[in-house]
């Protein structure tokens, strides 16, 4: 059993990064995730593990610092909230195009524009459909608890290096700000120079030694045929993610006739709704996608053959519902319920929507 603590989701991101052996964090303050950098600065990991922490002049600079450092084969990360992620879109596209591993945390707030500092899930499309220019995908993890904020930092780095692809932890203001019990991992050492060389020595910029050709981190290619090949390689990678790394959780789905589909804090609320509906005799289950890309489309397609309907519950205008509809492909009803602007519905409110939109009461 690791060390148990009562912590905020944002604080846990900082603690987990240090304990995992992360090499660097580059960020810019924005509500509701500023505790990530504040915690790192207070913990001073450069004196313990040697981890670098730097406050950049903007989110644009911080993501490009991540690009530079990730290109050296170092395990680096950043965090921000919705408007800041929009500023990072350029850098994220370059990181994906150059096939560099890193972890990006988005503690979502309501939009569009300056929006609100209250929690939201309105960046689902931005996170899962690219967000910047060009055909690329992030591997997107959606934590639903402070414990998962901890676990997904390490998992995120592992997946980022497995695929040489940026991984986004798509949290929200609720998960970032709430306190829960969390079991922390033991301190792991950072990779030694030798390990970095063994793992990333075939591509990273660590200085051109006489025994190899120069390494160039770039997403640029002027030959259209090679550029198309590069794109096909990226697409093959995303296909492999779909085959090997779809993650989801099912709660009371075995006998369910109606399925709620929800991620992050919405799934926590829906868990209670399942209980309330079952007390009234309705066979309701919850499917919680953990990876939003790759999306658990196969399990939804399987369920579509025998359930009476799906209701997605999301704190946006209905974004994930489109992915559920694609997976269901018209075989059964798919409805959406959500609130926006920072409002979270109660489990009763979700239950009412379920009864009204799906069960027909």
């Amino acid at each position: 059993m690791g060390e148990l603590r009562l912590m905020k989701g944002n604080e846990v991101i900082a603690e987990a990064a240090i304990r995992y052996g992360c090499d660097g964090y580059f960020g810019y303050p924005i509500t509701p995730q500023s505790e990530v950098m504040e915690s790192l600065m207070a913990l001073r990991p450069w004196e313990s593990t040697g981890m670098v922490v730097l406050q950049a002049e903007s989110e644009i600079a911080s993501i490009h610092m991540v690009y530079g450092a990730a290109g050296c084969g170092k395990r680096v990360m950043t965090s921000s909230s919705s408007p800041g992620i929009s500023l990072m879109a350029e850098g994220i596209s370059y990181i994906a195009g150059s096939e560099l591993p890193c972890v990006i945390v988005n503690v979502q707030r309501g939009g569009p524009g300056l929006g609100t500092i209250q929690p939201s899930q309105a960046d689902y499309n931005q996170a899962t459909k690219g967000g910047g220019h060009g055909d690329y995908s992030l591997l997107v993890l959606a934590p639903a608890s402070v414990q998962e904020m901890n676990d997904f930092v390490g998992l995120g780095f592992d997946l980022a290096y497995k695929y040489r692809n940026p991984v986004m932890i798509l949290a929200d203001g609720v998960i970032g700000q709430m306190m829960e019990k969390v079991e922390l991992m033991d301190q792991q050492p950072r990779w030694t120079d030798q390990q970095v060389k063994e793992i990333t020595g075939s591509w990273a910029t660590q200085g051109k030694t006489g025994d190899r050709a120069k390494h160039v981190i770039t997403s640029l290619e002027m030959d259209s045929h090679i550029m198309e090949e590069n794109n096909l390689r990226l697409q093959a990678k995303y296909q492999r993610m779909k085959e090997e790394d779809v993650r989801f959780e099912t709660i009371e789905c075995e006998d369910a006739e109606y399925i709620l589909v929800a991620f992050g804090c919405a799934a926590r609320i829906c868990q209670k709704t399942v209980q309330l509906a079952r007390e009234k005799g309705h066979k309701v289950g919850l499917l919680r996608p953990i990876t939003l890309f790759p999306f658990p489309e196969k399990v939804i397609a399987e369920m579509a053959s025998h359930v009476k309907g799906f209701l997605t519950v999301e704190f946006n205008a209905g974004q994930m519902v489109n992915d559920v509809r694609l997976a269901v492909n018209g075989r059964t009803t798919v409805e959406y319920f959500g609130r926006m602007g920072g409002i979270l519905p109660s489990p009763d409110e979700v239950e009412k929507a379920l009864l009204h939109k799906l069960i027909g009461e």
Binding site: D23, G24, F26, V52, L54, A56, E57, S58, I60, A61, S62, H64, M65, V66, Y67, G68, A69, A70, G71, C72, K74, V76, E90, G91, Y94, S98, T205, Q206, G207, K208, T209, G210, K214, H215, V216, I217, T218, S219, L220
Partner: protein, 271 residues
């Protein structure tokens, strides 16, 4: 024709070699236009890297602009940055690998327009990097549009009647701004239009790379350059135009030397 070839063959012999290039500069055809300053500056950087014996510990950051392909020409590890972001990319590299020598190579649009924030803040933090700034007063790669350093009255693709203060504002003397920042260690302005100027520029670039081994702040070398294609002049006309019109606004010489400023913190850390 074969007679000429034979004569050349007799001349091009190792014993006649009086001027060479560093092996750090790759044997490839550059894409730069004849008369362009980039090739000369590339050669100087490659020479300096070889002279200092730092090929295996130097990482370059190339920009968006004509020098985007610098990574094809200098035989070191490179990271190709998004437009204007080279100082941030270099910061990321240097912070996680402080033992390396890291430099950016940027044009005026990259460094002084879209990347102004990254430039100023990297220098203001005193990042221990070298920044090479090619100022040719125009966007070369994109096709001759107005740059932040375009002179008043200068005709470009986006100032077809000349740069107009009311419409476009003033040419930005960013190197003067850089020299004011406490994090700057060495700030100089050079050019490469004559043999003498090339010798001076080589010395300045060497000094910048040498100082960067001491981690005493940012070393910044501007090279006032020509873009004869963008300016629509011959190379010789371009040199004359640069001397006549650019040097008065961008005078050559050192702007700062001696390391980043010493400071006393207002308040020490709370214990």
């Amino acid at each position: 024709m074969s007679e000429v070839a034979d004569r050349l063959k007799n001349i091009i012999r190792p014993e006649n070699l009086i001027y060479g290039k560093s092996p750090v500069l790759n044997d490839v055809t550059m894409h730069y236009c004849p008369g362009c300053s980039h090739g000369v500056v590339h050669k100087l950087i490659a020479d300096v890297i070889e002279e200092l014996g730092i090929q295996d510990k130097t990482i370059g950051v190339s920009p968006v602009g004509c020098a985007v392909f610098a990574y094809n020409y200098i035989d070191i590890d490179w990271s190709e940055a998004a437009h204007g972001r080279a100082p941030a990319v270099a910061t990321g590299i240097k912070r996680v690998m402080p033992e390396k020598t890291v430099f950016t190579y940027q044009g005026d649009g990259d460094l002084a327009a879209i990347g102004t924030a990254e430039t100023m803040h990297a220098v203001n933090r005193g990042e221990n990097i070298v920044m090479i700034f090619i100022n040719n007063a125009i966007y070369g790669m994109t096709g001759g549009q107005m740059a932040p350093t375009t002179l008043l009255g200068q005709i470009t693709a986006t100032t077809p009647y000349g740069r107009n203060v009311d419409l476009n504002g003033y040419p930005l003397k960013i190197t003067e701004l850089i020299a004011q920042l406490p994090g700057a260690a060495y700030v100089t302005r050079q050019s490469v239009h004559t043999a003498g100027a090339v010798r001076k520029a080589r010395k300045a670039i060497r000094k910048a790379f040498e100082l960067s081994q001491q981690n005493i702040g940012t070393c910044f070398v501007e090279v006032v350059s020509t873009c004869n294609s963008g300016w629509k002049m011959t190379p010789v006309e371009s040199n004359d135009w640069m001397v006549k019109h650019m040097f008065p606004l961008f005078p050559l010489g050192d702007l700062k030397d001696g390391g980043k400023d010493a400071t006393e913190p207002f308040q020490t850390r709370k214990e």
